[in-house]
Symmetry: C2
């Protein structure tokens, strides 16, 4: 596949093509999207084992037949959903980052975008985490893909001199872990309070200070 | 309970007392420990749903009756195991940290101890992660406990001037996330190569540099 064909295919949502059957019409794509949204709620609330195809179609307001036009089974829509959500997180971060002026700000906006995403998609942790058991390859591939994306951003930051020189895989995994756990703590395990935009900005700034300067003493000791 | 009684109870493995039935003899404690070790392998290999009590007792080389002396069900031994492993991680980190000279070195040794632990207990991620679905309270409590422990270490570091002044919950969750993901990447998803002690030391140093100085530019830009 040449460059042009490949980016054309990407615009058509390749994650739906890999699993699921590709809809041919825009109406078909809308139905498939409705089923994925319903599946996110269903798997997020009940977990994989208790979830059912009939309950997904009920939530989506589609006929059972429509489901099987696009997905072979509960297992298949779960896999498609994990890939879809993984992609969504990426799109969300990319769009949040587009306003950044430099490499460190880019990371701050990526985290803030991710926190905003978890606020409105609390189910994402449960779904991605359950993939470890239902679809281990997608689980691993999700984190490996995110880590690679972060690693190239850090390398770009190192090359432009906006970050220190030796950025690699380890720093990318460490940063990903920070973001995942801040999203868990403040986006998901935060039922008491709604995370406001101001909260998100404060978390973003504070986490970015950690990222920029670390937590070593301001004046080196001894 | 006064201080002395409390530390005496702790020496008797309080996590076994909370779930499971407390063995009265040292032989009983040994049997219970054998069952927990067997359960770690069983749940780690097969996952909660496929695991069975009879297979756990077979691995442990104990009679089925012994199992029910200490645990009521598969569910109960799973819960006891999550609490046991959570405690083990804590003990392991505490013992690794005891050699540290200062607050930042303490964190480096804690990570290195954790990596060494994951190397010999690759099943720990699968078990703790599956608790999110089988025993959500223990899952959350595991991370909240670890985060609190880290937060008090960071606060102590801030007070002693070995870390910067404003250390709180956010920094603790960020650091925990780094460690969890470095353990996942290098301790568990590292099947091709065995993690040597030298690898662990290198990861520990590199992660500690991130922790100490962050990834900002060496000379601040513009």
């Amino acid at each position: 596949m040449d460059q042009q064909a490949s980016s054309k295919a990407e615009a058509q949502d390749p994650e739906l093509r890999k699993t699921g059957k590709e809809p041919r019409t825009s109406r078909g794509r809308a139905t498939q999207k409705k089923l994925l949204d319903a599946a996110a709620l269903e798997f997020g609330e009940k977990g994989y084992h208790e979830a059912s195809v009939s309950s997904i179609t009920r939530r989506a307001g589609t006929a059972l037949g429509s489901f099987y036009t696009y997905f072979d089974s509960k297992d298949e829509i779960f896999r498609a959903l994990v890939q879809h959500m993984s992609k969504e997180v990426g799109h969300h971060a990319a769009s949040a980052m587009s306003a950044a002026d430099n490499a460190l700000e880019r990371e701050q906006l990526a985290l803030e975008g991710f926190l905003a995403f978890t606020r409105s998609h609390k189910e994402i942790y449960r779904i991605i985490d359950e993939a470890e058991f239902v679809d281990p390859d997608s689980y691993r591939s999700h984190y490996e893909t995110v880590a690679e994306r972060i690693a190239s951003r850090l390398q770009a930051g190192a090359e432009s001199g906006e970050m220190r020189g030796d950025m690699g895989e380890l720093e990318a995994w460490a940063l990903m872990g920070m973001n995942v756990f801040l999203g868990l703590r403040y986006g998901v395990w935060n039922e008491d309070e709604t995370l406001s935009d101001a909260d998100i900005a404060e978390i973003g700034q504070r986490a970015n200070r950690f990222l920029r300067n670390g937590i070593g003493p301001e004046e080196p000791v001894g």
